[in-house]
């Protein structure tokens, strides 16, 4: 029986394993070092905040793996020996494979800051990081202030976590507005305000200079590079992005860039070795996507795809329309299609932005300047229907059509205030159109389903 070995039990590796099992009888082994069972990394914050226990973040019960004949091995892979098709683990044992899937995820970035390895300084990626944070910042007496470095999604999550225990947080963001490399200005501004509302000391346009140690060698303060200001703190969170976790492959003969180089079939340069998830790097980016996409969904999609290839139905990785979501403290964010920030904006791209005058709710729609083709939407504080936007993007609808049928796309719970009328009327006055939003129609919503 062919033996498929997967390194990494994250969403990418586990999805691949599940789908291979569905489609075949092959022997499957998943080797991973972090935890015994698959858990949802995206939920780490909720454990610290007391919304859930660790066990709740495990999407499958523990009997699932045995029942589905997916062997789990807990251990760290030191070496991949592709000549002998075998893995050597840190404990000295080895595992032979016929096909190998690398799904090793990411690790937090460190940019060589002085003091970055001091006790009290940590990232937030793994279960171990979470345990570390629990030890470093159990309450606001042990941790009188925390400084978070890096204004991305994990940074704001970490700030929210610490605030849930009433720990004062200083948030150092290199950009002059939060996440404005990704978000258009209006949205980024809304999040800035919201961060301040949560009593987080947001510092925009500053970099970390160094981290100072106390007499015991623990972090005691950070120094801001631009101003030299010293901020006393007990914990420093480094959340300046992640990069592929591939160091152990350096001398393996597998081609590496920043991540593991793969083609559209997710194959590496070595036969029978594949890479998926955060650690994979496409030779060429697909559409507007980046070559490395460290998000949950792409890990899952690559897992779905590679399983087909392994089970004899060789297919390309062809992600559909881009979508993503996040939550900034209390504000939910969803995106469908492409809306670029001012920095990344395409020359043909035009935006329509609407923000409610009371609530923290806004949307930005991107469309083609000339053809008016709808390109994407960002929503803050309104939930939208994935299926509808996916369809509109496929059908290449224009922005007028989208405005007219916006009610079909609303996915907020029942009885919520709706904003389509306000949105469309602002659009009308801005673009001199005369669109009236149509009533929500089940027939249209399900027309393709």
């Amino acid at each position: 029986m062919e033996h498929i070995v997967i390194i990494g039990n994250g969403i990418a590796g586990v999805t691949a394993a599940r789908h291979i099992r569905k489609n075949s009888d092959k022997r499957i082994t998943v080797v991973s070092t972090e935890t015994d069972y698959f858990f949802s990394r995206t939920a780490l914050m909720y454990i610290y905040m007391g919304h859930m226990k660790f066990e709740h973040t495990q999407p499958y019960e523990n009997w699932f793996w045995k029942k589905n004949r997916i062997d789990l091995v807990k251990g760290y892979v030191n070496t991949v020996d592709h000549l002998n098709k075998s893995l050597i683990l840190a404990n000295g044992s080895s595992i032979a494979y016929d096909k190998l899937i690398l799904a090793t995820g990411s690790k937090p970035n460190k940019f060589g800051w002085p003091g970055q390895d001091l006790p009290g300084v940590q990232g937030l990626y793994s279960k171990q990081d979470l345990d570390q944070l629990e030890a470093n910042a159990p309450d606001n007496k042990t941790c009188k202030r925390a400084v978070i470095v890096g204004g991305g999604l994990i940074g704001i999550e970490m700030a929210e976590m610490l605030r849930s225990r009433k720990i004062p947080v200083t948030f150092l963001v290199r950009e002059d507005s939060f996440w404005n490399g990704v978000l258009p200005a209006g949205e980024s501004a809304l999040i800035n305000e919201h961060i301040l509302e949560h009593h987080i000391d947001l510092r925009l346009g500053v970099n970390l200079g160094e981290i100072l140690a106390d007499e015991n060698g623990r972090a005691r303060a950070v120094v801001i590079k631009e101003t030299g200001e010293e901020i006393a703190c007990d914990v420093v969170g480094l959340t300046a992005g992640v990069s592929p976790n591939v160091d152990f492959l350096k001398d393996s003969g597998i081609e590496l860039g920043r991540g593991i180089k793969v083609n559209r079939h997710l194959e590496t340069n070595i036969k029978d070795i594949y890479a998926i998830g955060d650690c994979a790097e496409q030779h060429e980016s697909i559409g507007n996507r980046r070559p490395i996409e460290a998000v949950w969904y792409t890990g899952r999609m690559m897992g779905e795809t590679v399983a087909q290839t392994i089970c004899g139905n060789k297919i390309e990785y062809k992600p559909g329309h881009w979508f993503n979501s996040a939550k900034f403290l209390d504000v939910e964010y969803q995106t469908y299609g492409w809306v670029f920030s001012e920095r990344g904006m395409k020359e043909y791209e035009q935006h329509f932005h609407w923000r409610d005058d009371k609530e923290l709710i806004c949307i930005t729609m991107a469309f083609h300047k000339e053809t008016k083709q709808f390109l994407g939407i960002n929503t803050f504080g309104i939930r939208m229907r994935h299926e509808i936007f996916d369809r509109w993007l496929t059908e290449e609808r224009d922005v007028f059509y989208v405005m007219e049928h916006l009610k079909d796309a609303n996915f907020d719970p029942e009885f919520y205030t709706t904003y389509e009328t306000k949105i469309v009327s602002k659009f009308n006055s801005e673009f001199g159109t005369n669109i009236t939003p149509k009533k929500k129609s089940w027939k249209r919503i399900f027309s393709n389903a």
Binding site: H51, E304, Q308, E316, Q334, R383
Partner: protein
């Protein structure tokens, strides 16, 4: 704010403490006149019992119900034993000893509590309400900006099965034991609400009135908590208002007022088979003897169960009943909300759930079948089974122990829907309709799920919502009561409760929206 809240807790605990001490307090003295009245009213023919009470109880002053009730039950047991031995069955007393004790106790109470009902009400209910509100209302500020407020739930003893939770458990279980099996100890409680009862129905309060009143009070206070906690979520606000309305108006006020108007006591929203004794002989007789209104109730009760309930479930899902109207659901959604995370999500408990709840439904239907047969055939036994025996078994095991003691008592340990999930026969019935013929579903938003597990954790019905959501599959489950909390706590906007066309309601998927269209088609349509 913290100080106000702490003072609130103290005030609340004082109120609760006095309330809990009441069963052991008070002076009781039965005088001859009162006793003669009871003998006449209850048509007691047991000379032994009458003698015993007259010798040992009448004219004596008792401190607390404990001694009084033990004397009464001793007298009753001895008398019955002797009558049975002498084959004097006509003299045997069929009133249960705890019922007899509470009847005598209620009429013989004297002293401070009876003479100061208003003050005593303030010291118990009053302090409880004020204290609880002092703890709850400041949450408008202490909880911060509106949004999901689950911080610390698994860090706190009260909501993480710690010692506080076990204390609450012990209190609730004892309370229900008194209610169902020791009503004589509730006598002092009934005094507190006598004035209210008298102003509604014209009668002094019994222990069920205490329960009904407390139920409303607790729901109101805990609804305030819901309004604050979910103030960003209109669905929760509207739903909470709805359960409050139905509890106070339909379950509490209307039945009491009907009694005042010489009509039968009836809760118009309580549908059979949850209302399991609807077809019991005594109820049918009382309805038939109450003229037009009785007949109307009879017809309404039948139409409610056979037509209104299923039709509404078809259009709106079982939520219209279970989390918008029902009293059990109402308590679960208010008092029980802090405990919703404790319902087990394991496959094992799902299996247990299906056996139990359907077992209870079969039991209820079977019992009602036999009841109706004996009613029309005018017999007491069917195929060798005593009708009253099976009714009593059901009332005790399901109606009291399961629905009350376990159903509510276990809130802090097994979550707030133990009864609704494992025991309620009406829920089982609604579940069939919801699963097989309904427009209701929880739509999963394409591929947006990140498998975080918030939805499953906070599903009070123990549904592993994530198992569906992460496959891009809609949630169509018979047990879902449509509380909407999974949708509320989802940080990625994945879930929406909605009523739509039946076609495409169940949409099994393997490859999720967002991936290669051909692949999705290939795998999902296999």
């Amino acid at each position: 704010m913290k100080t106000i809240q702490n003072i609130g807790i103290i005030i609340f605990l004082i109120g609760l403490g006095i309330f809990s001490a009441l069963p052991f307090m008070g002076t009781f003295k039965l005088d001859q006149g009162t006793f003669d009245g009871i003998v006449a009213e209850k048509r007691i023919k047991s000379d032994l019992f009458i003698q015993d009470i007259q010798q040992n109880v009448v004219g004596k002053e008792y401190n607390g119900m404990i001694n009084l009730s033990s004397n009464i039950s001793k007298a009753l047991d001895n008398a019955n034993e002797a009558h049975v031995k002498n084959k004097e069955y006509k003299k045997k007393i069929y009133t249960k000893s705890s019922e007899m004790a509470s009847l005598i106790g209620k009429r013989s109470g004297s002293g401070y509590i009876v003479n100061n009902k208003g003050i005593m009400w303030m010291l118990t209910f009053g302090l409880g309400i004020i204290g609880a509100l002092m703890f709850i209302v400041p949450q408008v500020l202490t909880l911060g900006k509106k949004g999901i407020k689950n911080d610390g739930i698994y860090h706190q003893s009260s909501t993480n099965r710690g010692w506080i939770a076990w204390l609450v458990f012990a209190f609730l279980v004892s309370f229900y034991m008194v209610l169902y099996f020791g009503s004589e100890y509730a006598v002092n409680w009934t005094y507190l609400v006598d004035p209210i009862s008298e102003s509604l129905s014209g009668n002094p309060a019994g222990h069920w009135f205490v329960y009904g009143f407390m139920y409303c009070v607790i729901m109101v206070v805990m609804a305030v908590r819901m309004y604050i906690k979910y103030r960003h979520n209109m669905y929760q606000m509207v739903r909470t208002t709805s359960v409050l309305f139905f509890q106070i108006i339909f379950a509490f006020l209307i039945p009491e007022i009907m009694v005042r108007l010489q009509m039968p006591y009836y809760d118009f929203k309580n549908a059979f088979p949850l209302d399991y004794d609807f077809f019991f002989q005594w109820n049918l007789k009382s309805l038939i003897n109450s003229g037009g209104i009785g007949l109307f109730i009879l017809v309404w009760g039948i139409v409610l169960t056979l037509v209104i309930v299923p039709v509404m479930v078809y259009f709106f899902g079982k939520r219209w009943y279970c989390s918008w109207v029902c009293g059990c659901g109402g308590l679960a959604e208010t008092l029980g909300d802090p405990y919703r995370q404790h319902s087990s999500k394991s496959l094992f408990s799902w299996k247990v759930e299906r056996w139990l709840i359907h077992g209870v439904l079969v039991f209820a239907v079977f019992m009602t079948g036999i009841t109706l047969y004996s009613f029309f055939a005018e017999t007491g036994t069917v195929m060798g089974i005593k009708t009253s025996g099976i009714q009593n078994t059901y009332s005790l095991a399901i109606g009291s122990v399961f629905a009350g003691v376990i159903g509510t008592g276990f809130y802090p340990i097994f979550g707030n829907r133990v009864w609704c999930r494992f025991g309620c026969p009406l829920a089982a019935y609604l579940g069939f309709v919801q699963r097989f013929k309904s427009r209701f579903r929880i739509t999963t938003n394409g591929g947006q799920c990140i498998s975080c597990g918030n939805c499953s954790t906070y599903c009070e019905q123990g549904i592993d919502v994530r198992a569906y959501a992460q496959k891009g599959e809609n949630i169509v489950r018979s047990s879902c009561v449509g509380c909407g909390v999974c949708s509320a706590v989802c940080p990625r906007g994945v879930l929406k409760l909605e009523n739509g066309p039946e076609a495409g309601r169940i949409n099994p998927t393997q490859v999720l929206l967002g991936n290669d269209v051909d692949l999705m088609e290939l795998v999902n349509n296999k």
